[in-house]
């Protein structure tokens, strides 16, 4: 190498940007590997042909290649534009009789509700010309408020899914009772056959949790009529409710008041992500942390890297078998500080000083116990979810209940009266059912929205037992794993086509309004039961007399329910008010402490901690139990923590990976008992070294075209309803599956992007750790005489739940591109949530940051567009004009926030019918070759302004809500007018010391400001040189 070359190289090295490694998003970034460097340099150089040749024809990318095809459509034919513009002839077909409520071009919002078997939400659903197009939370609803979970929002696509069944079916079986053929059947034929079978007796119903009083009444009537049994089972059922029954005598999932707690200890309860009413929890948790002077502390003992763990102020990594030890250890630490019986003292004595055994700092553990004692009556201890389903699950729950009772939390922060009594599902019930089926006692089994063939482990023998049932009737809207094994599929409506009601917390009733008439020849499960009872002439009069389920629901409310909640109003006005508000009843805020009837002194640990590796199965925020796996929005939504899309994987710790020479994506074969499953490895910081964590909900075989071949079914690794702590072995297979994460994309190169501070830092100075830059102006600046839109995002309340991402996708018609194209950095999300790890690499903590177009005043994108397709509006918006864009992508190159998305293909053309009906008619679908990005929901801004104008009033703060803001359960995102000095956002910009701009030193002057994330962990952030926090 010549001298000159040498010099150039060293110059280049000197010029390298100084990286701050306090926050990192991937190991590649942390270590600044050559691969990472290379990926940075080629970030914008991707061409449609890159990677193509590599992938084409290879075995491993079968999935990837298929994704795109099947995802959004039937054909990948990218049509070339016709030569000259010719006017297409369009028809306008007016209504014959216009429905009163429809104004063409104006949306109506209806109250409804959503229940996924675990979480219940009050909803507002937007309807345009009679079809639902957007789902958001009902702000008035006492539980979730604004928040709508990603699943609830995405359930909209389920309505328009091409894979939905459109009529009833019958399966023909061969001698071995395996499916030979599926044939269509008429409702009359199905009803006759089913009723014949029902009349033979031995009727059983298997369903998931039922939260609707009316559905419960129908099932009750049906049971009375046919002398049937009802079994309730959910794949994600845990022992919380059962333990409540044994500890306090009432089977209830208590209402946890995270907003009233100062100290929250979670033992593998992912209450922010996947366990319990997550949106309600998010809202309450954020409420307890909004006031930074009196914010709560969250301590998490985490065996997977859960969303709750990621939000914890102090996070301990444990393995599942240690959960019970942790609780007993905590009890032993507080013995003497609160009064406990001698028997308990003796029982917990062996757990004294357990911290060392758990590999946790004893001092930190003592501090947790001390904080609990200090905040008696204002603390919460929770454990739950399938992550706690070890052999000791019940013991763990009883110990947790005891701890809450002695801390005086019961009745204050743990309110049974505000809990949900409808989550009665248990494995005991399905085991019972299987025993009955094996004994030949079940002649007809009706399965309603429960999929044991997919989500129940084989060792329980459901499949064999089912062969002994002469008639199996299945009511669901998919030909799923269980449906193909049923004799009759009485195709159910989609939830948005059915009337109903709900009771998600004792005394709080919600209405479930349909948004559309049944699109196909389907019938609700409830009406099916009613029809069969009517035909057989059995059961109470009310199940036989009504022709529709709506009549049944209304009658039930008129005759029974209204008396409880109508408060003396006449029924019609009560009913109308109910429909309008979406709910009735009040949520109990406090209760009285219940007497703890359990026995802690006899609790014994049966789970051994000897296994080298323990299995920890967990549901993810987006896929959950896998019911909605066929929805592209959910598959493409990055996992909240790992940010991986379109896959499940085996998470192992860094040390484990090093010891076993595993690299990201190496396929390992897991062996649990006799079951094997091959999965790619994901190296997860902050995981216990002896844990292998795998997400359930993937590997659906019969969910539809989107879910097919995505991941592996980890439910098969469960044993007898146990999901955690099972000994697991693994070996490398030598194969590799590329795991696709969005977190490697859009690197911000180590500048001041996220700012965190601790409570101690904040006590000293409210703007701790923010480095303010001296900036100067070379721009003349814009004049904003009318409105000037801005946004404030409080990182301190953002939990990373991702509801905003789905809301944005639904509102703005952003495309789903599939695994292969996400791999190439072509995801289309307008808002993303960056997850940064920070701290000790082995036990990293996490920070979330929602990021969308910053709508800079001095926008770098605007100055480089050669065709002026991105311009500045008089209201401070950075506007992207699709029809002017020629796709140079200069803007994207020049955007320091990396929020611009390019349409590599004509995604909208690939949307399979009738999925196009879910598109928001207010927002243009973008064509190929066009750049797009967040618009601050300009269509909503215009709608809000228009509305104010018509009502002849000035625009109020809060009139306009962007889709992300509207969906946010924690009110993290605030949008408003900066020129209105009383607006919430203007106040943040003007007076909030924690507020900072991203890349302030560039003087792009973004219209979005963030507020420091605070970790309430009593640490002090060490001072660093270089000025950057």
């Amino acid at each position: 190498m010549s001298n000159t070359e040498n010099k150039i190289q060293s110059d280049n090295e000197n010029r390298k940007i100084e990286r701050d490694s306090t926050y990192w998003r991937s190991f590649e970034e942390l270590n600044n590997t050559p691969e990472f460097q290379k990926s940075l340099q080629t970030e914008f150089m991707s061409s449609p042909l890159r990677e193509e040749s590599k992938d084409e024809g290879s075995e491993t990318d079968g999935v990837a290649r298929r994704d795109f095809l099947k995802l959004m459509g039937a054909s990948i034919a990218l049509t070339s534009a016709a030569g000259c513009i010719r006017r297409p002839v369009q028809k306008i077909v007016p209504y014959n009789k216009q429905p009163e409520e429809v104004t063409v071009g104006v949306s109506n919002w209806y109250t409804s509700s959503y229940f996924d078997g675990q979480e219940g939400l009050g909803l507002l659903v937007k309807s345009r010309e009679g079809r639902p197009v957007h789902i958001s939370g009902n702000p008035k609803f006492p539980l979730n408020g604004n928040g709508a979970s990603v699943k609830a929002q995405a359930s909209l696509l389920g309505l328009y899914e091409p894979n939905r069944l459109q009529k009833p079916f019958r399966n023909l079986f061969n001698e071995k009772r395996t499916n030979k053929e599926t044939v269509g059947v008429s409702w009359e034929e199905l009803d006759t056959k089913v009723v014949e079978s029902l009349q033979k007796g031995g009727v059983a119903i298997l369903s998931g949790n039922i939260s609707s009083p009316s559905t419960k009444a129908v099932i009750g009537d049906f049971k009375a009529g046919f002398n049937a049994d009802h079994y309730v089972w959910e794949p994600l059922a845990d022992d919380v409710v059962e333990a409540q029954a044994s500890s306090y005598g009432e089977a209830v999932m208590p209402g946890f008041r995270y907003d009233k707690a100062q100290m929250i200890v979670s033992i593998d309860a992912d209450f922010l992500g996947t366990w319990g009413p997550t949106m309600t929890n998010n809202k309450r948790f954020a409420d307890g942390r909004r006031n930074i002077d009196k914010m709560s502390r969250l301590v998490s003992f985490d065996s997977t890297y859960s969303l709750t763990g990621a939000n914890a102020d102090i996070r301990f990594r444990i393995k599942p078998s240690q959960q019970f030890d942790v609780v007993m250890g905590l009890i032993s630490e507080i013995v003497g500080k609160v009064s406990v019986s001698d028997a308990v003292k003796t029982a917990v004595a062996p757990y004294n000083g357990i911290a060392d055994k758990l590999g946790i700092s004893a001092e930190a553990f003592k501090k947790v116990a001390a904080d609990l004692v200090k905040n008696q009556g204002e603390s919460i201890v929770v454990a739950g979810g399938i992550q706690t389903k070890t052999k000791d699950s019940m013991a763990l729950q009883v110990a947790v209940n005891y701890l809450n009772s002695i801390l005086g939390n019961d009745g204050k922060t743990v309110v049974a009266g505000a809990g949900n009594k409808n989550l009665t599902a248990s494995f005991a019930q399905i085991k019972n059912l299987i025993a009955k089926m094996n004994a030949g006692d079940v002649k007809t089994l009706i399965i309603y929205r429960s999929n044991p063939f997919y989500s129940l482990s084989a060792d329980l023998g459901f499949a064999e037992a089912l062969k002994k049932v002469p008639t199996v009737v299945y009511s669901n809207d998919k030909m799923d794993e269980t449906a193909v094994n049923a004799h009759y599929v009485a195709t159910d409506n989609h939830a948005l086509e059915t009337w109903g009601d709900s009771e998600f917390a004792t005394g709080v009733y919600g209405i479930h309004q349909p948004l559309i008439r049944t699109m196909y020849d389907t019938r609700s499960f409830q009406l099916s039961l009613m029809t069969w009872a009517y035909m057989a002439k059995v059961g109470p009069k009310r199940i036989q007399e009504f022709e529709t389920y709506y009549d049944y629901v209304r009658n039930l409310w008129k005759t029974e329910m209204a008396a409880k909640v109508a408060g003396g109003k006449d029924f019609e006005s009560f009913w109308n008010g109910f429909l309008q508000e979406g709910f009735v009843g009040e949520l109990a805020t406090t209760g009285s402490a219940r007497t703890f009837k359990g026995d802690v002194s006899s609790l014994k640990k049966s789970q051994s901690s000897d296994a080298t590796f323990e299995l920890a199965l967990y549901p993810t925020v987006n896929i959950g139990d896998g019911t909605l796996a066929n929805i592209g929005w959910l598959q493409e939504l990055p996992d909240v923590v790992t940010k991986i899309v379109w896959d499940n994987y085996a998470c192992v710790s860094i040390k484990t990976a090093e010891a076993n020479k595993l690299r990201e994506g190496d396929v390992i074969e897991l062996t649990v008992g006799g079951n094997k499953l091959s999965l790619p490895t994901h190296i997860q910081p902050g995981l216990h070294d002896q844990v292998v964590a795998v997400a359930v909900g993937y590997g659906r075989t019969h969910a539809g075209d989107v879910a097919k071949g995505i991941g592996q079914n980890a439910f098969t690794l469960a044993q007898g309803g146990l999901y955690a702590g099972l000994p697991v072995e693994f070996k490398k297979t030598g194969q590799k599956i590329e795991l696709v994460t969005t977190q490697g994309h859009d690197s911000m190169e180590g500048r001041q992007i996220v700012v965190t501070a601790t409570n101690k830092d904040i006590q000293k100075s409210k703007d701790a750790n923010i480095h303010r830059h001296h900036t100067w102006n070379i721009w003349s600046g814009h004049q904003y005489n009318g409105h000037k839109w801005g946004m404030a995002i409080d990182l301190n309340t953002c939990t990373g739940c991702s509801a905003c991402m789905t809301a944005c996708q639904s509102e703005n018609n952003t495309a789903v591109v599939g695994k292969k194209y996400v791999m190439q950095g072509r995801e289309m999300h307008w808002i993303r949530i960056d997850r940064y790890y920070t701290g000790d690499v082995e036990n990293a903590s996490a920070v979330f940051q929602p990021l969308m177009c910053q709508h800079c005043d001095n926008a770098p994108c605007e100055t480089v567009c050669p065709v002026v397709a991105t311009v500045h509006s008089s209201e401070g918006l950075n506007e992207q004009i699709y029809n002017r864009c020629v796709g140079t992508r200069y803007c994207s190159n020049n955007c320091p926030y990396k929020v611009r998305r390019f349409n590599w293909f004509n995604y909208a053309k690939l949307i399979e019918k009738p999925m196009h009906m879910a598109l928001n008619p207010e927002v243009l679908v973008r064509a190929r070759g066009v750049m797009e990005k967040c618009t601050f929901c300009v269509q909503r801004i215009k709608e809000g302004k228009n509305k104010a104008k018509i009502e002849e009033r000035p625009l109020k703060d809060g009139d306009i809500k962007t889709a992300c803001e509207a969906a946010c359960p924690t009110q993290t995102i605030v949008f408003g007018d900066l020129n209105d000095e009383n607006s919430r956002v203007a106040k943040v910009f003007k007076a909030e010391p924690r507020a900072y701009e991203l890349l302030e030193e560039w003087y792009a002057k973004p219209s979005v400001r963030y507020q420091t994330k605070i970790k309430n962990n009593d640490q002090v952030t060490p001072k660093k040189g270089g000025g950057h926090a």
Partner: protein, 194 residues
Amino acid sequence: MLTKFCSTVCAAIGLSLTVFFLSGCLFQNPDGGERVGIGYNKGYAPEQPIAFSHELHVGTHKIQCQYCHNQVERSKSSNIPSLATCMNCHQQVAGKPGQETVPGHKDSDEIKKLRDAFSDGKSIEWVRVHMLPDHVSFNHQAHVGKGVSCQTCHGEIEKMAKVFQHSDLSMGWCVNCHRQPENKAPLNCTTCHQ
């Protein structure tokens, strides 16, 4: 050698064809003047399934625009009236025998089409006259609310026996009006493109 010659000829022909074609497009698309560019459709007057005459209804009978297009004040889209709205009058009005408001179309025949469709629960498939490209959104409510009369854009509709496109609906045509200071109209791109 021959191959090379052939390919050169082909290229030349191709090029000249392209130039010819493009120039054709350009010639048809002058800036300004009465001649209208391709795709603008000024003067477009398609045959409608019913020979409905605005001249008769608006001009002669003086029916207000918003009697039929009743949602124009409330919505960005102006609605084509439902058949029920037509039937408000045509329940009674069947058309005089033999009368032809629009030459070649017997009134009674045309009204019968309407009545039949209504009683069958069907609709009429009107051919859309005013059509903006997909990337443009126009808000009737905002314009009507500001007092812009229908005729400003749609022309003398009360004299149209058959509706035709009066304005070229080009972007320049929109912006010309928006630019007038007295109109106080917004000029942001997202006003129309979103």
